[in-house]
Symmetry: C2
Subunit: 287 residues, 2 copies
């Protein structure tokens, strides 16, 4: 049976890395980029769906402007746009809708003492987390009764080619390459990092599966920011430029780790590449 995937946010950091894996999984793939259609405009959204007639939607589009998206009021526009896309999907005969959520939906007030499972309580601490969580709850309640299969990939930390210059790994590599010192202020924090190519592959597998509800998109392992930055400095042979501090940070959990049982066993997504291998590729030491 012909399967046609529409990927929104197709030129965004995550979306662009879902296209090839979706093709490999047998989809006819249509990427929808910001410049082609503004999903905040109902008429443009409708026209895009009518043009492609997708059987599957992988909705990666959202405003994640680095440094402001956690509390930006534009999150409300993307809740509205995403709900509208979900409503149109059911009106247009779409079989499956997969949205991109976030580890920021979980309750981390315990500091992250255990790996988060998809059934664990949610309690977003930011407007972004609140917006993603509310969108998920509403679509999960509304789409299946309308005949649309629904899943939600909860993405944890990531790095990768094309990320915003202000993000940790991008700014670290840029500093080291330019011979500028770099201070990692909170080296004690542990995060579940994946390369964005592995994030894209996992979302493609989730789209191709029939697993319903939230699914963590992560590696299941954590790395400290100290280890991550130290490894990057070693790869670029500039350990002298890196200072690792361990300044306490009360507003952030010590550890953010995903339980990836659903992703591996139910979705059947492959293990991500070795993180240091990915970091080395990104640092340009291996191609």
């Amino acid at each position: 049976m012909r399967r046609v995937a529409l990927v929104t946010g197709a030129t965004g950091l995550i979306g662009r890395h879902t296209l090839a894996p979706l093709r490999d999984l047998g989809f006819e793939v249509h990427g929808l980029a910001r410049l082609q259609a503004d999903l905040r405009d109902p008429a443009q959204t409708r026209a895009a769906l009518d043009a492609v007639r997708p059987t599957h939607i992988l909705h990666c589009a959202w405003d994640v402007t680095h440094g402001r998206f956690w509390h930006a009021p534009e999150n409300l526009d993307w809740v509205a746009a995403t709900l509208r896309l979900g409503r149109l999907a059911s009106a247009c005969g779409v079989e499956r809708f997969v949205g991109v959520g976030s580890c920021a939906e979980y309750d981390w007030t315990d500091g992250g003492t255990s790996a988060r499972r998809e059934t664990d309580p949610t309690r977003p601490a930011t407007l972004y987390g609140l917006a993603k969580n509310a969108t998920r709850e509403l679509l999960a309640a509304a789409l299946p009764p309308a005949g649309v299969s629904f899943a939600w990939g909860r993405v944890f930390d990531l790095f990768g080619a094309g990320e915003a210059p202000g993000r940790l790994v991008a700014s670290l590599l840029a500093s080291l390459r330019a011979g500028r010192p770099f201070v990692c202020r909170h080296g004690q924090l542990e995060r579940d990092y994946m390369d964005v190519r592995d994030v894209g592959a996992a979302l493609a597998h989730l789209t191709a599966s029939d697993v319903a509800g939230p699914v963590n998109i992560a590696s299941g392992k954590v790395v400290s920011l100290a280890a991550l930055t130290t490894r990057a400095a070693a790869l670029l042979d500039r350990p002298d430029l890196l200072t690792v501090e361990t300044v306490p940070l009360a507003t952030q959990p010590q550890t953010m780790r995903a339980d990836v049982t659903r992703l591996r066993q139910d979705v059947g997504a492959p293990e991500p590449e070795d993180l240091w291998q990915r970091l080395a590729q990104l640092a340009g030491c291996l191609r």
Copy 2:
């Protein structure tokens, strides 16, 4: 200082009863009815705001088609429309935005053993409750940082002139007047009922106040459905037509009562009229 209120859903069951109380509180009042502007259309919403230039918005509009609104997918359209209205409000210099929420936002899984306070946990059991609760959380997080004061009236049970024919009190009165028997199946349930005129007055006072966050719109007292229907049958002198049963209903809490401390003390809304007096007026025995 001139205060201009825009009331959405102004011809709806609740909205129409907010207009006179708002005028009495000193507002220049503009009602926006469904036929004037479709709030689900961004351009029409913008035009309505530009025409009125309100200082206050009381947003009563929502799709509450009797018999289907609890689980209707249209709830998603109204989340989107309400978030858009909130975003436009902050762009258009609106000082205060008051939304209409619902007792369906609360966690009632304990059966309603105590009166609900605004700080009690939420846990909606319906798509409608989920939609109202999500809208509230998002606007409460986004509007105050944008300089817009935000409040949310959580309306409990109500009856009144103009309600849908299928609702309890309307269908009861219609049956009794027509000489048809009426069966109250779940007479044991206790609900915090108000006449919609008192609901409208309470929302007008909430709009005129500067109280932030959720505020219960209710009487603080409960009446059993047995007592309510028995009183109505007595008022119409047709107790013979009424059968009160007490069939258990696992899907509904036994009691839904509001704590109205915030509404009375912080908002300063007046006590509602005596419920039996209001019921008698509605039954046409008093004018």
